[in-house]
Symmetry: C2
Subunit: 425 residues, 2 copies
């Protein structure tokens, strides 16, 4: 099964991290039931909730679920990523979380931006970044949107076929284009669909066509599937990229850039050995295939910058069983589900850590579901989730590592529930 | 796989209808390419587009996709449904399409309403229906929402466990409750999950508990899975319901109502033999199990009232191939996809009829995808869709039978794309 958003797909490293989140026994003894008032969390267990978010939760009441994102975490993530990959230019994938405060922070920090639509281009400009820091990275664009982006100053566009090249040539003359190639996702835990990209052989003619139409054939992009455990996949993709570079060089067209895409794990900087392995593999492959003439590289992190910066506060609406049998499954219904921001639980792909006021008490496996009249709005059932037996109606819970792909995935009022509110602090 | 919204799930009868939509040869000859201006549709092929919608399309320009719903079709659907099932009270499932104009029309026509949330309750009241025509049909409700609904006059609530009964008893004293039971969806093409309902045996104690707490134990609801081909499924569910009626009658509690749920096919009134078969099976089963003491029945159509009343106008953004091989698949990218309102294409469950300006010309199988940077945003790939070879960038297309579950399923700005616009005419 594909992941709901493959372009920045589920991250098994994160998933493993989330699974591994230990439930530590509480020293404070049992927490009171039905807290109603915020601020009774047991913070002694390891968590990703920052002091700033804790303060915010202590003083914020809400009848509806909300997301709170700590900009300090985004800043730290960006700074560490930029330091860890000093040779690569960072293009933040705006779609992960387009909150104006996040865009403004990253603009101040010097980030560039990967925009999926004209609206995202405009949001980046409004946040204070120049158009020279924007890549219009969607291979599927209306010609009038390319034209508007060009008028706004954007000069870098993704393509994967001659038709898209022709649109860019018509309305954004002289711009740089990079061609996305399909890669063999074999081995990736979340292989992507074939929606984006063309076979490497075709990329040569696509970029040649761009050159012939007066565009700057700038480079190649690819995505090997998120958290590809087989480091050879990078090797194969970079081998393809370098073959395209060479083939075009023979025709007098000199590409400059390789776009390594997104999919970097949200916590990969903390899993130092693993990320070093990936880094080594990628840059080893770059050296192997490009020798001393290393291309410019860019990366497009989304989740990696904002995922662990956010926490959703939600509420238990109902706890019930389907029968009176003693072994009947326990169902916990929250006021947020697949349609309210947790779309990434599709196929139970991402397993968010959930913090309750009763952590440390005895747990049992629970099915977790959302509040809509939709039988598919079930978050975790195939692999039930261990939650405290004492969890009950009215309890507030925290869903951690939810800064990415939550507010924008939320449906526009399905069942009458408002889209997820968010606070950026 | 479950359908994205099982409570009113995909409708194989509709699907069959859509598949069967014949492509008739056009007498008008090839249509011009890249129409840009609306109004060049070939309406000679059978279609669900009404003259009012045709007029609207002729005079409406838009840079973005939009839905247009013809209220006359909604009126006809309601009238025929009410006539075909004179014994049943119709509760429109607001979640299918909560547009104020639709609610106001149905309110004027005398419909009742199935609300999934407090917001939907408020929308129905704003549309002019009294609270006595509202069922708060979600089994998962916050106590404060029940309380608000009660203050607004709502007196009918769905439950499926003692915990929910207790909430209703505390804040909506004396109200009617009906208990949803799990049914054996065996044989249903779209079986529902176990999210809603309890086993029939438990429903007895749930309703008894309601009675003991001063509520009116009003009835039983179920959903046999959408378009259940095995008419015995209705028989089994109604056998369960009547056993609950009898068991409670023995305890002096007299239930009055059976809620037959939703899932009625969008076009079932036109497929007369089939719908008669279903009607016969259902009412045969009612008589078989309830004898001469037939309970009140209610039905909760959503798609059945609004599905075929709506048409989405969209645009071809890109047509391309992934390689230069002659047998390479043809990809057609639209400006609407899974996140812009066509979520029901999940697992390719619903296959909407698509009308192009080139209908009648030679076709070839195409993969159809949406405009977002999301590799899962692919509408039809496992079973490619036959589309005219001459279809190209900029062509307007119509996606028919899209009046239900499109505007509300649309994501709240994913990739910067605005939620689906709609016009109710």
């Amino acid at each position: 099964m594909l992941h709901p958003h493959g372009a920045e797909a589920a991250d098994p490293d994160l998933t493993r991290f989330l699974f591994a989140q230990p439930v530590m026994p509480s020293k404070a003894g049992p927490a009171p039931r039905n807290p109603a008032t915020p601020g009774i969390w047991n913070w002694e267990t390891p968590c990703m909730v920052t002091d700033r978010i804790k303060d915010f939760l202590r003083t914020t009441r809400s009848d509806e679920p909300f997301l709170v994102v700590d900009l300090d975490v985004v800043r730290d993530n960006f700074t560490r990523l930029a330091r860890a990959l000093p040779e690569s230019r960072v293009f933040y994938a705006v779609k992960a979380n387009p909150a104006p405060e996040i865009l403004a922070l990253l603009a101040r920090l010097g980030s560039s931006f990967d925009a999926a639509s004209l609206t995202e281009v405009e949001m980046v400009l409004a946040a204070g970044a120049g158009a020279d820091r924007i890549s219009f990275g969607n291979t599927i664009k209306k010609e009038r949107d390319i034209e508007c982006a060009y008028r706004l100053g954007v000069r870098m566009f993704a393509v994967d076929c001659p038709e898209e090249v022709e649109k860019v040539a018509r309305v954004a003359p002289g711009s740089r284009v990079f061609c996305r190639i399909l890669t063999d996702c074999e081995g990736a835990e979340w292989p992507l669909s074939r929606k984006f990209g063309c076979v490497p052989q075709m990329a040569i003619s696509v970029l040649q066509h761009a050159h012939a139409l007066g565009l700057e054939a700038h480079g190649v992009s690819f995505h090997v599937g998120s958290q590809q455990p087989d480091t050879n996949a990078w090797d194969r993709a970079l081998a393809d990229a370098s073959a395209i570079f060479r083939s075009l060089a023979d025709r007098g067209i000199h590409l400059k850039m390789v776009n390594l895409g997104g999919g970097f794990p949200a916590r990969y900087l903390k899993d130092v050995p693993t990320s070093e392995d990936y880094g080594k593999a990628i840059f080893g492959a770059l050296r192997r295939h490009f020798g001393n003439r290393l291309p410019e590289t860019i990366i497009e992190p989304g989740r990696g910058l904002v995922g662990d910066a956010g926490v959703i506060r939600a509420e238990v609406v109902l706890v019930s069983r389907k029968s009176d049998e003693p072994d009947a499954a326990r169902w916990v219904y929250l006021d947020i589900g697949k349609f309210g921001g947790l779309a990434e639980t599709m196929d139970e792909a991402i397993r968010y850590p959930i913090r309750t006021p009763h952590d440390g008490e005895r747990t049992m496996p629970c099915v977790i579901a959302g509040p809509t009249c939709d039988s598919a709005d079930v978050l975790y059932e195939k692999t039930p989730y261990e939650l405290p037996v004492s969890l009950s109606v009215g309890d507030e819970i925290l869903i951690e590592a939810t800064g990415a792909y939550t507010t924008t995935y939320a449906a526009n009022g399905f069942n009458g529930f408002a889209p997820l509110k968010s606070y950026i602090i």
